[in-house]
């Protein structure tokens, strides 16, 4: 079971084979997607017709629109980036205030509130989407009836997408940041205070620098989850489609390898983000 106990050879072999099979299962879809981004054929399907970059840079003689010429697709990437940036900003700010609220304050109903903060994590995304859609519409109707205002951002569209995603991503940010704040040794703050720092300086020079890894880490996770989100977004989206919704639409209608090209782009971007984070981790450790 564990290395310190004797294990028969067949069990060890089986373990290795299982892990290899698992890795194959894990990477087969990604490798396939990546490979067919470079296939010289109008559909992402075998057989292999030769290498081409048409699906990235386009080829007018064959009527192929490459990723870099596909305004619609590029626009949806920008839309996703726009949404993810707002979602990250809101989630991290509110996640941080929540962490301080739960770890540093004592008030009546606190345990109830901390339980409530976990609830968004067990509500299916589709339902978060429709409930916010319905509620926002009702509020908008109400404001229209009462004051004659037309509140555009409460109708399906990007602001609502941001709100929908934020509704559960704040919970994730709160959990991560609280977990680190809980481990913080408060005598460090007392020591700084004792050395003449003002309350604000203590926060800026001691507490926030300590929280930094959790802030960066949860920002990366939230950004990524926002960028990948589909279920909630689908219910709230208006005229501008984020990338996942755009890709979904094209996949239903029969995809061209441009989608594979976008996927390759996403893989590279994710890998770059991951490397950047790990580099940051290493730097702090050394």
């Amino acid at each position: 079971m564990i290395p310190s106990l004797p294990r028969p050879w067949w069990l060890r072999l089986a373990t290795v084979l299982f892990v290899l099979a698992f890795l194959l299962f894990l990477f087969m879809p990604l490798a396939t997607v990546a490979a067919f981004a470079f296939n010289d054929a109008p559909y992402p399907a075998p057989p292999w017709q030769g290498f081409t970059l048409d699906w990235f840079i386009g080829n007018e003689s064959l009527g192929r629109t490459g990723l870099f010429r596909d305004e619609e697709l590029l626009g949806s990437i920008l839309t996703s980036l726009f949404v993810a940036s707002w979602v990250t900003l809101l989630s991290i700010v509110i996640g941080t205030t929540n962490a301080f609220l739960m770890e540093r304050m004592r008030f009546r109903g606190q345990s109830l509130l901390s339980l409530l903060m976990l609830v968004p994590l067990v509500i299916p995304g589709v339902i978060l989407g429709i409930s916010i859609l319905a509620f926002a519409s009702r509020v908008a109707d109400l404001l229209g009836d009462l004051f004659g205002w037309e509140v555009e951002f409460l109708r399906p569209g990007l602001p609502l997408v941001v709100l929908g995603q934020v509704s559960y991503l704040i919970a994730i940010a709160t959990l991560t940041i609280s977990a680190r704040l809980k481990r913080f040794d408060r005598t460090l703050e007392e020591a700084a205070y004792n050395l003449g720092a003002s309350r604000l300086a203590v926060l800026g020079t001691i507490t926030l620098p300590y929280l930094r890894p959790a802030l960066i880490g949860s920002a990366a996770i939230v950004f990524l989850m926002s960028f990948e989100n589909f279920n909630t977004t689908l219910m709230l989206v208006g005229a501008d489609s984020p990338l996942t919704v755009m890709m979904y639409g094209r996949m239903r209608d029969g995809a061209t390898p441009v989608l594979n090209a976008v996927s390759v782009f996403l893989m590279v971007a994710s890998a770059a983000l991951a490397l950047l984070l790990m580099r940051g981790d290493d730097r702090r450790r050394n």
Binding site: L116, P124, N231
Partner: protein, 292 residues
């Protein structure tokens, strides 16, 4: 600084910190769901006229299609959760216990990599692999196992593969966390006292890993139940997943009352399953969620 001033500044700070939390929880979670509940109990009697009633829920139980899809979604989600656990446990065990240092870290990182890429991309991969003109049917013909390419998409098994694949991360991470914290010497002691592989697994490992197992199962079940993308793409137009019914009512037919009722039924199902999961494993919600 007088006592009164410190107290009032304390209250100011408390409210400053409470405001965003309350705005979030009530504005985006509690009130919308209450509103959804109200919506689901509304009957349309004429243009712009509504009364309170159970019409939407009656429709759900009266129409076999809805009921069937609901049960099917629940059963497939349960099976997917069980399969994910069976597949993820040996992997988490290998990473946590059988490998050390760099290899362990590398294996863990490798298992996480696919989930840095969007679910859309992963589903696209499965479509290219499994469709009739895709990679695997072609491979089967080449190997002489089938005469003509078979359509591997749009089966229940396909949905299962896609769901398990998409859920793996959410199972491996909590499992790894709970197995990692298990002290090797406990296993050694159990062996030393005459245990064998199976009894040690049952009496030492699983009880210790139970919070992680519960956390993984709850999250995976919730995610598969609420999945839209994988089910609708790998299951095709007739996949009959319950979230698709919700989408159809809400977005296509614009029948929000019916959609709200469906949404509430799904939420109820997911809550009941979470509750049963916690009950069976004897865990507390807050402890479990802090592990995910």
């Amino acid at each position: 600084m007088t006592e009164a001033r410190t107290r009032s500044s304390h209250y100011l700070l408390l409210w400053l910190l409470l405001a965003p939390a309350l705005l979030w929880l009530f504005g985006l979670i509690v009130l919308p769901h209450l509103d959804l509940a109200l919506l689901s109990f509304r009957e349309r009697t004429g243009p712009g006229e509504y009364v309170f009633g159970l019409e939407q829920y009656r429709t759900f139980f009266a129409e076999p299609l809805y009921w069937d899809v609901f049960v099917r979604t629940a059963v497939v989600s349960l099976v997917a959760t069980a399969l994910t656990l069976l597949l993820a446990f040996p992997i988490a065990w290998t990473i946590a216990k059988l490998t050390r240092g760099r290899l362990s870290a590398l294996l863990f990182a490798v298992c996480l990599i696919p989930f840095w890429v969007s679910e859309t991309v992963r589903t696209l991969g499965w479509m290219i692999l499994l469709r009739e003109t895709g990679v695997l049917p072609g491979l089967l013909v080449t190997l002489g196992l089938t005469d003509a390419p078979v359509e591997m998409l749009y089966h229940d098994a396909t949905i299962l593969v896609g769901l398990v694949y998409t859920s793996l991360l959410f199972m491996v991470v909590p499992l790894y966390g709970s197995l990692e914290s298990l002290d090797d010497s406990l296993i050694e002691a159990a062996y030393d006292l005459g245990g064998n592989g199976w009894t040690v697994l049952r009496t030492v490992v699983i009880p210790h890993a139970l919070p992680g197992i519960t956390a993984g199962c709850i999250v995976v079940f919730m995610l598969t139940l609420g999945n839209y993308l994988t089910a609708s793409l790998l299951g095709g137009k007739n996949s009959l997943w319950f979230t698709e019914q919700i989408y159809t009512q809400f977005i296509t037919r614009f029948n929000w009352e019916q959609g709200a009722a469906f949404g509430f039924l799904l939420l109820a199902l997911s809550s009941v399953m979470v509750w049963i999961g916690l009950r069976l494993s004897g865990q507390r919600f807050a402890d479990v969620m802090s592990r995910t």
